[in-house]
Structures are given as structure tokens and as C-alpha cells.
């Protein structure tokens, strides 16, 4: 790292040469680690800058863009994607990938809708829908860890499995009319000018829990360690096996919750929900600064990534004359920019 000039240690009065050398190297190390920390935050800062720029551009071009309501809508429309991206962050941090989340969203949603239509109580259906995601995640985790099938293929199989099960349950869209579920979906709280619904509260709670898990527990530290180097993590005596299975359970659970949130949003369950949603989630995580080889990244970055994707959609809606396919092109270009940015950072660090 050429930018770090080790400051010549100025011996403190009364301190021996030995003590001064120790202090000097200590402060140098402190400076290095602070700079390194900055570098780790750089991709996330980049995302933040893009987000602020987009808000500024939107605000200057359209009236009613920077209103509380519009911002709240951004969260309401993307609550499910936030939860998915959070789960995906765990998996990607270990160097894996989860392609099954989109299908699990559909499976969880259509299970909720069909069970509610069959007259099951909400208190049973909701945990069950989430549990479906967890169980599928567990199956994937076992395939990945015990049978050493690559995450890409294992989650691809889970994706097909979940999608096929959706079609077995129902080919038609099932409307949700259950009163208590509709009550839950329409519950909202007024903050300033805006209304925030239950889905947003749940999504933010998931973010908070994930943040705590990643940064303040042994599980979280192990996740980062596996991404940094699985072999070293194992030699350090960390519970690699358990953690590798658990990240898929976390991601599956998040997908189950995401399915519930989407069912609350659309008031229906449909087997074609969430086609390609896993790619949105992966794109959000990457734009949010998590590096796909694992080891570096933040849950909050992924949330910012989701907001950037959501804002692209909002701006294109506000523009009015732009066709919807520009969303895909812009997301692709943005993805490219961030990936190249990450690449430059990784190369520089070496």
C-alpha cells in the first residue's frame, strides 16, 4: 500500500527506545487498518453516492419526487426484495450463490394463498410458509456441504423443484380473502406524510436481525471467515460445516418471508411470481458492494442496492415516455459499472 507513509515515530519524553518503537509501529498499524477499512467501505460508499445522485436528479426533474410518500412507496414496493437481498448476502459472503429464492417466493406465496383459501388459520399458515423456505434451504445446504454439489447446481435444482411444486399446488392465481391476513397486509402506521405498512416493518426487522447476526455473533464472523478462506477458517477451528449449511437456511428462510411479503403486497399467490427475482436479488447484492467471491460486504449495502434498483424503476415511471425495458438495460449497465469498480479495487489492493 503505497499511500501509507509510516510516520517517523517521535519518541515520547521519558520513554525508552523500545517503547517508542512499539508505539510507532502500533500507530502505523492503526493507520493502515483504518485505511483498509475505508477501502472495504468504498463500494458501499459508491452505492450511496449513486443513490444520492439519483435522488437529486429525480428531485430536480420531477415534482413530488422527494416526498415522504414517494420514498415510503419505494420501501413498500421493494420490501420483499430487501428481505431476499439480505438472505442472499449471507450466501454470497461465504462465496456461494442461491438461485432458488425467486421460486421459493412463489412457493411460499402460493402455499399461503391456497391454505388460507382452504380455511386454515393465519397463525398456522404464516409460520408454515416461512418454514417451507427454511426446509428447502436446509436441503440445499446439505447438498452443498455433505454431497459437495456446487452451490450453483444445487440451488438450480432447488429452483426447479420449488417452481414445479408451485405448479403442482395450483396453475391459477389464488386470491387471498382471509380477513385476518388482509388486516395484517393493510395494517399501516403514519410517519410524517407517509404511510408505512406491515411488510416494510417486517423487512426492516429482518435487516436489523441480519445486521446483528453478521456483526455481533460468532455465526456472522464465521460467515466472513469462510468467504475469506474456507481452509483457514477450518484450521482456525471455526464451525465451517454448520455455518455453510446455515447460510442456505438463512437465505431460504428469507425467501419464505419474502414470499409472505409478496403475498401481502399482491393479496394473491401465483405460481409464476418471482421469475428472475433471484437475479434482481443478486444484482442488488453486487451493486450494494458485496464481492461475489465472498468475504467482503455488508447487509446495509445490499439494502442500498435494492433501493437503487427500486429508484431506477421509479424514475422510469416518473419519466413516463421511457419504455419499461430501459429498466433492464439500466440495471445491466449499473451492474457492469459496479463490477468493474470492484475489480479495480481488488486489483489495487493486491
Amino acid at each position: 500500500m503505497s499511500a501509507v507513509q509510516t510516520p517517523t515515530p517521535t519518541p515520547a519524553p521519558g520513554a525508552g527506545p523500545r517503547a517508542s518503537r512499539a508505539a510507532g509501529s502500533g500507530s502505523a498499524r492503526g493507520l493502515t487498518s483504518r485505511l483498509r477499512l475505508d477501502r472495504r467501505y468504498l463500494p458501499v460508499l459508491g452505492t450511496l453516492v449513486v443513490l444520492v445522485l439519483m435522488l437529486a436528479i429525480g428531485g430536480s426533474r420531477y415534482e413530488n419526487f422527494l416526498t415522504d410518500r414517494n420514498i415510503a412507496n419505494l420501501f413498500i414496493n421493494n420490501a420483499h426484495l430487501i428481505v431476499l437481498a439480505v438472505g442472499m448476502t449471507f450466501v454470497i459472503l461465504t462465496g456461494g450463490i442461491d438461485l432458488s429464492v425467486g421460486s421459493v417466493v412463489a412457493l411460499s406465496g402460493i402455499t399461503t394463498a391456497s391454505l388460507l383459501a382452504a380455511g386454515w388459520p393465519v397463525t398456522v399458515v404464516v409460520p408454515l410458509a416461512v418454514l417451507i423456505g427454511s426446509v428447502l434451504g436446509l436441503v440445499v445446504g446439505i447438498m452443498v456441504h455433505v454431497f459437495e454439489i456446487q452451490p450453483f447446481i444445487a440451488t438450480l435444482a432447488a429452483m426447479f423443484l420449488a417452481r414445479g411444486l408451485c405448479y403442482v399446488i395450483s396453475l391459477e392465481s389464488i386470491a387471498i380473502t382471509d380477513e385476518s391476513f388482509v388486516d395484517l397486509a393493510t395494517w399501516n402506521v403514519k410517519i410524517g406524510d407517509a404511510r408505512v405498512n406491515a411488510a416494510v416493518v417486517i423487512a426492516l426487522a429482518v435487516v436489523a436481525i441480519a445486521f446483528y447476526l453478521l456483526h455481533y455473533t460468532q455465526f456472522g464472523r464465521t460467515v466472513y471467515a469462510i468467504g475469506g478462506g474456507e481452509q483457514s477458517a477450518m484450521l482456525m477451528g471455526l464451525p465451517v460445516a454448520r455455518t455453510k449449511v446455515l447460510v442456505y437456511v438463512v437465505s431460504g428462510t428469507c425467501a419464505g418471508i419474502g414470499g409472505l411479503l409478496f403475498a401481502m403486497y399482491s393479496r394473491s399467490g401465483y405460481s409464476l411470481t418471482g421469475v428472475g427475482m433471484e437475479l434482481d436479488a443478486i444484482a442488488a447484492v453486487v451493486i450494494g458492494g458485496t464481492i461475489l467471491t465472498g468475504g467482503t460486504g455488508f447487509v446495509l449495502g445490499s439494502v442500498l442496492g435494492v433501493l437503487v434498483l427500486g429508484l431506477i424503476q421509479t424514475i422510469i415511471t416518473f419519466e413516463g415516455t421511457l419504455s419499461s425495458w430501459w429498466t433492464k438495460i439500466v440495471i445491466g449497465v449499473l451492474l457492469l459499472v459496479f463490477v468493474i469498480l470492484q475489480r479495480v479495487l481488488v486489483v489495487r489492493r493486491r
Partner: protein, 352 residues
């Protein structure tokens, strides 16, 4: 132990044993369900029958899977092929639709040329991201996968472009010497790739790049240009597949053309025994994989199950094949076999 059982064991240990068993089982199930399944008749001077249709519908997937095999052999993956399929069809049909004379052969040839050239350029772009910028293949091709469908829609301005052009229709639905043109094209490509990789050193170089890129670079293999080439070739094949698919329906559907074909292709490659970790690849394995997937899809339809449920069966096949190939299961099976082999040997010793 007799020699026949020994030979049998060697057959059972062959890489393609289980995929072939799956294929034969599917074919048998179809024949039992409808005895006329295997019949191939000559109608209007060309072959027809379920098997011919099976091959015709499988031709685009085979093309995409061939390109994917080469990419996977270099430790990469190409998620963008579905988008390239859509773009290629969109470009060709838009060009034909806007030309004054859609039925002329020269118009169609130019359209095909433009579509293939554009697909090749897209592949070069993927290869540039992977080999020069060093971005992971999954994410580098994800960029085009996301943006590509948008580009295809941009080309068709969000409409489903349809045309009437007899020469273009030939690619997907025509017959040549009694055989479907699509099958002939796919067979030519398959043989060409097989000759190029197995009769020259190219195949070995691709495998060496996949096994250890750094070591092969130090050994003097130009890994960068090899990686670049496989992505370009993969997109070129996807472009050809896109022409077949759009010619089969005579419509360019930017949203649905080639949807999930990348996943089917990856499945076919994995079923065929090529590891996603790169290195050794098997083109005949990929062919078997494509046939398994295509027959599976057909079987589900023929058994009267809703075709939407196909993913479920695909998932089951993939999980079974992957489990059978997983090192853990192989170890367990091998250990059991060793124990079984030792017992008769010990018995012989005691007898002596």
C-alpha cells in the same frame, strides 16, 4: 469372478452409464405408454415421427449446450445465452420485416449474417469482461443476461415481430434430404466442434486452462485468447439457436424466446458428466444430457401431466445425477464394493 461380470462393472462405472440409463428408461416409458413412439415414417418425402420431432426440438438446446460445455471446461459459465437467443431472433426478424422483399433468399442470408455477427460481438464482449478484465464469469455474463432482454425489446420495440418468409422458415421447420434442417445444422456443428477439439490440441488446451489457468499460462498456453474464444463461440452458437427458435415460430418474442435455455443447457452439461469446476469435458456426454432433458420434457407432456410441472421432474433428475456423481456417494459405494470383493477372495484363500 467371471470376465462378463468384470466387463459389466466397467460399463457401470463409465461416466455416461447413469445418464444413458435415464435416457433409455424414459424412452421405454414412452414406448410402453404409446407403442408407436419409436416409429419413424416417411411422409411427403421426409422423415416424421415422435423421435424426429424430439431431435428437431432439441437442436437449439444442443447448440447452446455445446457452447456451454466449452465455456464450463474453462471454469466459466455463460448465463447470457438466453438473452443472445432473444437478440439474434429479434435482429433477424426485424431486418426481414423491414425489408421490401421478405421472401428473397438474399434478404434472409443478410439477416442471418447480421444476427450471427451481432451474437459473435456479444460473445466477444463477454469474453473481454472475463479474460481481460478478470471479472467472474457468473457476474460478467449476468450483465448481458439482464440487459440483453432489454436490448431485444428495444430492437422489436416491445412487440412480438412476426414475418412471412419461406427461406427463413426453412432453418427451423424445413427439411434437407429428408432430415429436418435444424437437426442437420446441429449435427454439423457438433461434428465440427468434436473434430476441432479432439483431433487438434485445442481440446487439451481448453482443459488445461480449466484445470489450472495460471499453470497453463506459465506453460505457454495462451489462456486469455482461449477463454475469449470460447465465450465468442458460445454466443455464436446461441445466435444460431436463436435463429432456429424464431424460425420455428416465425416470431421474435423478446421476453420468452430462449427463456431458461441457459439453465437447461447447464443441466445438460452437468448431466453429461462435465464438472462445473472446469477441466475435462465430454461433448458426447452433453449430447446425452440434451437428449435426456428433451425426452423428459416430451415424456411429461405425453403422459398427460401439465407441462408446467416439468421443472419438478428436471429437479429430481438433476439431484439424482448429481448425487450419483458426488464424491461422497462414490466413496461409500466404492468402499462397499471393495468389501464385497474382498469376501469371495478370502473365501478362496480359506478353500486353498
Amino acid at each position: 469372478m467371471t470376465t462378463t461380470s468384470f466387463a459389466w462393472q466397467r460399463v457401470a462405472q463409465h461416466r455416461l452409464f447413469w445418464p444413458l440409463v435415464a435416457l433409455v428408461a424414459l424412452l421405454v416409458a414412452n414406448t410402453i405408454n404409446r407403442p408407436s413412439f419409436l416409429a419413424v415414417t416417411v411422409r411427403d418425402g421426409h422423415l416424421s415421427g415422435s423421435l424426429v420431432n424430439l431431435l428437431k426440438n432439441g437442436a437449439p438446446l444442443l447448440l447452446v449446450a455445446l457452447g456451454m460445455t466449452l465455456v464450463i471446461a474453462t471454469r466459466g459459465i455463460d448465463l447470457s445465452v438466453g438473452a443472445v437467443v432473444a437478440i439474434s431472433g429479434a435482429v433477424a426478424l426485424s431486418f426481414i420485416a423491414s425489408s421490401p422483399n421478405p421472401d428473397s433468399l438474399s434478404t434472409v442470408l443478410v439477416a442471418v449474417g447480421i444476427a450471427l455477427a451481432l451474437s459473435f460481438v456479444l460473445g466477444v464482449w463477454n469474453g473481454f469482461l472475463v479474460s481481460v478484465l478478470g471479472i467472474q464469469p457468473i457476474i460478467a455474463t449476468l450483465v448481458l443476461m439482464t440487459a440483453g432482454r432489454g436490448v431485444a425489446m428495444l430492437i422489436t420495440s416491445g412487440q412480438i415481430t412476426t414475418v412471412n418468409s419461406a427461406p427463413f422458415k426453412t432453418i427451423g421447420s424445413g427439411f434437407w434430404a429428408g432430415l429436418p434442417v435444424a437437426v442437420v445444422l446441429a449435427a454439423i456443428v457438433f461434428v465440427a466442434v468434436a473434430l476441432l477439439t479432439r483431433r487438434t490440441a485445442l481440446g487439451m488446451l481448453i482443459e488445461s486452462v480449466g484445470i489450472n489457468p495460471e499453470a497453463s499460462r506459465l506453460a505457454g498456453v495462451r489462456s486469455r485468447s482461449i477463454i475469449w474464444t470460447v465465450y465468442a463461440v458460445s454466443a455464436l452458437f446461441a445466435g444460431l439457436a436463436g435463429l432456429m427458435i424464431s424460425s420455428g415460430t416465425m416470431a421474435a418474442d423478446a421476453n420468452n424466446a430462449g427463456l431458461f435455455i441457459e439453465l437447461d443447457a447447464i443441466l445438460a452439461v452437468v448431466i453429461g458428466g462435465t464438472s462445473l469446476a472446469g477441466g475435462k469435458f465430454s461433448l458426447s456426454g452433453t449430447l446425452v444430457g440434451v437428449l435426456v432433458i428433451q425426452t423428459l420434457t416430451l415424456t411429461v407432456t405425453m403422459l398427460g401431466i401439465s407441462p408446467s410441472v416439468t421443472p419438478l421432474f428436471k429437479a429430481i433428475v438433476v439431484i439424482l445425477v448429481c448425487l450419483a456423481q458426488s464424491p461422497k456417494v462414490r466413496d461409500v459405494v466404492a468402499a462397499r464394493r471393495r468389501r464385497a470383493a474382498r469376501t469371495p477372495a478370502e473365501a478362496a484363500e480359506v478353500a486353498a
